[in-house]
Amino acid sequence: MLAVEVNHVVKSFADKVAVDNLSFSVAQGEMFGLIGPNGAGKTTTIRMMMDILKPDSGDVTIFGEKLNEATKNKLGYLPEERGLYKKLKVIDSIVYLASLKDIDRHSAAERANELLNQTGMMASKDKKIEELSRGMGQIIQFIVTIIHDPQLLVLDEPFAGLDPVNTELLKGMLADLRNQGKAVILSTHQMNQVEELCDRILMINKGQGILYGDLGEIKSRYRGNSVLLDVEGELGGIPGVTGERVHKGYTELILDSKTVPQQVLSHLINRGMVINRFEVATPSLNEIFLKEVGRKS
């Protein structure tokens, strides 16, 4: 069963169409990237998934049904704008918000202790939320998001404002959750994180889906016919190479349409050259993003 299925949703605010006929699905056990520039409609899409906003048309199903009290309990949501009860203690905040996911207070407290330990936040257990730094508050909010062992996690800009140590901690925990079979939706404009973590993506711009599918497949679709090369000695002429661009530390060889990278590699090996780096040039997600968003605008 699909974790999320969004079918032709449309949402307008006053005279602006925020989400325009958007469709996608997310399977269980996959990490899905929802990417797009600021104001693309990512958060509005998520809010419709969470039933916080009602779509003007189209529908959203979570685990095969409309979002209801039972399915809300299977859901963990980390909104873009973080917020917790400032005057409440960390442990009380976590336990209260977990209890709203139908977890009894005793189990919630036990699980909270485990997660506080795992994230190195145990010392802050009895502090008030307002006493925490922004990054620490974010970790607590992440704990709130996963404490009830949700089957679907929706994380809106989860790495924003986190230091590198906590970013790595979060990435590790997300990978574990995916490996446990949970569906994870990452909404972000940090392309490197998506590239590193996600299996599939949906790129949206001005409310419309512009790229959707397997990340590897999308990247290969945008792959140019060129290789990146770092060799010792003179390169000399190589059959099928129509040009070369010298970069710092490597050279990019442009191949003609009849030549594949393997032929170039064989040629170099046959010549007995010492090869430090040989890579089929693939554009980064960031480059694809810039290209697509630039093209559409």
Binding site: M50, I52, E69, N73, Y77, P79, L84, Y96, L97, L100
Partner: protein, 404 residues
């Protein structure tokens, strides 16, 4: 546990742990107890001696030479005004007055003092008046008649029921004092509950926590849990006050007696006190939910809520007017107007009581208003719960409420 109950529990516990709530709840009975205690301490001491005041007089009319002791006023006769003035300057007398020769026809008495006063102290006026009366009637009527002329009546009123029996409530200030005090406390409690609700909603909107909450519960569950939780906290406060009243009154009338012995709680006062708190609170909660929904920040929410939170005090502003004109139609209006009804009814219960039709109309209008405002508040909550930053224009709010 049901999610509405969970929110209710959280809001209730959060509210009753607030310092402001605890202080406001216990300060009323505690202050009353302190008052009674202080009275007991003071009353155990010997009563203070009243100092005798010596007042001079010059009798130019003649015949005013008896009854020179009037209570604590001692009257000393002088032959000439100049002698009296000298005694005044020397401090032998506190003041003096002259009974001119034409007193009987004109009735004028000239009083001389070193003090700057707004008016003559009533005790002095009474002392001089009784001195003059006693001397003028001396040997003409018996002393009892003189005394009765000076103090002709002590009015004792008894209120009868329509069947001619003595009514249980005898009226008077003893009946007014508790409803008036309770009205003020009720207004404070309603205002405090309003502030907590607007602040709570505003905080959750401002901190964006509302999105996390709504990913777990529905807007209806959230709003219902909050309103009931804060309402229950307010009710605890009102019940503590009401429950402490009979106890404190017993204590006060047995130790202080006098006026406190005359205080009666009007029949139905406790029941109507709770009913009007619940209804008043529901109305204010619905208004506050609506205001919390359309306000982009706690501050603006509180400013908007002050408008109706202040209106609750209107009957108290008019309270003295009620004592003078208890049958004015203004009272009927304030009784039926839903925002002013809780306090107006409490006040009137103590002063004049109110007609059954007025009570029925007041309750009906209040209940209908609650239903209407709650309906609009839930609509506003759904439309505006995610709106941060700028408050929408009133025209836009009305359009959105219409379209839902």
């Amino acid at each position: 546990m049901n999610k509405t109950l969970l929110i209710f529990r959280h809001e209730f516990l959060h509210a009753i742990k607030r310092k402001g709530f605890i202080i406001l709840t216990i300060i009323v009975p505690v202050l009353a107890l302190i008052g009674i205690g202080v009275f007991q301490l003071v009353s155990n001491d010997e009563p203070p001696l009243v100092e005798t005041v010596t007042i001079g007089y010059v009798d130019e009319a003649g015949g005013f030479d008896q009854y020179t002791t009037q209570g604590y006023i001692e009257l000393v006769r002088f032959d000439m005004p100049s002698d009296a003035t000298a005694a005044l300057i020397n401090g032998d007398v506190a003041e003096y007055f002259v009974i001119p020769s034409g007193y009987l026809s004109a009735g004028i008495i000239n009083r001389y003092t070193l003090e700057r006063q707004l008016e003559t102290p009533p005790a002095i006026t009474t002392g001089i008046k009784n001195f003059l009366t006693s001397n003028m009637l001396a040997d003409k009527v018996p002393p009892e008649t003189v005394y009765r002329i000076e103090a002709p009546l002590e009015l004792v009123t008894t209120r009868l029921t329509e069947t001619g029996e003595i009514a249980t409530e005898q009226g008077g200030y003893g009946n007014v004092i508790i409803p008036a005090m309770f009205s003020l406390l009720l207004a404070l409690s309603l205002q405090a509950s309003t502030v907590y609700l607007v602040q709570g909603l505003g905080d959750e909107k401002e901190s964006r926590l509302i999105e996390v909450l709504l990913s777990s519960v529905s807007p209806r569950q959230l709003l219902t849990g909050k309103v009931l939780g804060l309402g229950a906290a307010g009710l605890v406060q009102v019940v503590v006050w009401l429950a402490s009243l009979p106890l404190l009154l017993n204590l006060a009338s047995s130790t202080i007696g006098g006026f406190f012995g005359t205080i009666q709680l009007p029949a139905n006062f406790l029941v109507l006190g709770i009913v009007y708190f619940l209804l008043g609170y529901s109305l204010f909660a619905a208004l506050s939910a609506g205001v919390g929904a359309i306000s982009p920040s706690v501050r603006e929410g509180q400013q908007l809520s002050m408008i109706y939170a202040m209106l609750v005090y209107v009957p108290l502003w008019f309270a003295s007017f009620l004592f003078i004109f208890p049958d004015s139609p203004i009272w009927t209006v304030l009784t039926i107007l839903p925002i002013t009804a809780p306090i107006a009814v409490m006040l009137r219960l103590g002063v004049t009581g109110l007609a059954a039709w007025e009570l029925a109309a007041s309750l009906t209008v209040l209940v209908l208003s609650i239903i209407l405002v709650m309906f609009l508040a839930i609509r506003a909550f759904r439309v505006y719960l995610l709106m941060y930053g700028k408050r929408p224009a009133w025209g836009e709010i009305i359009r959105n409420l219409r379209s839902g």
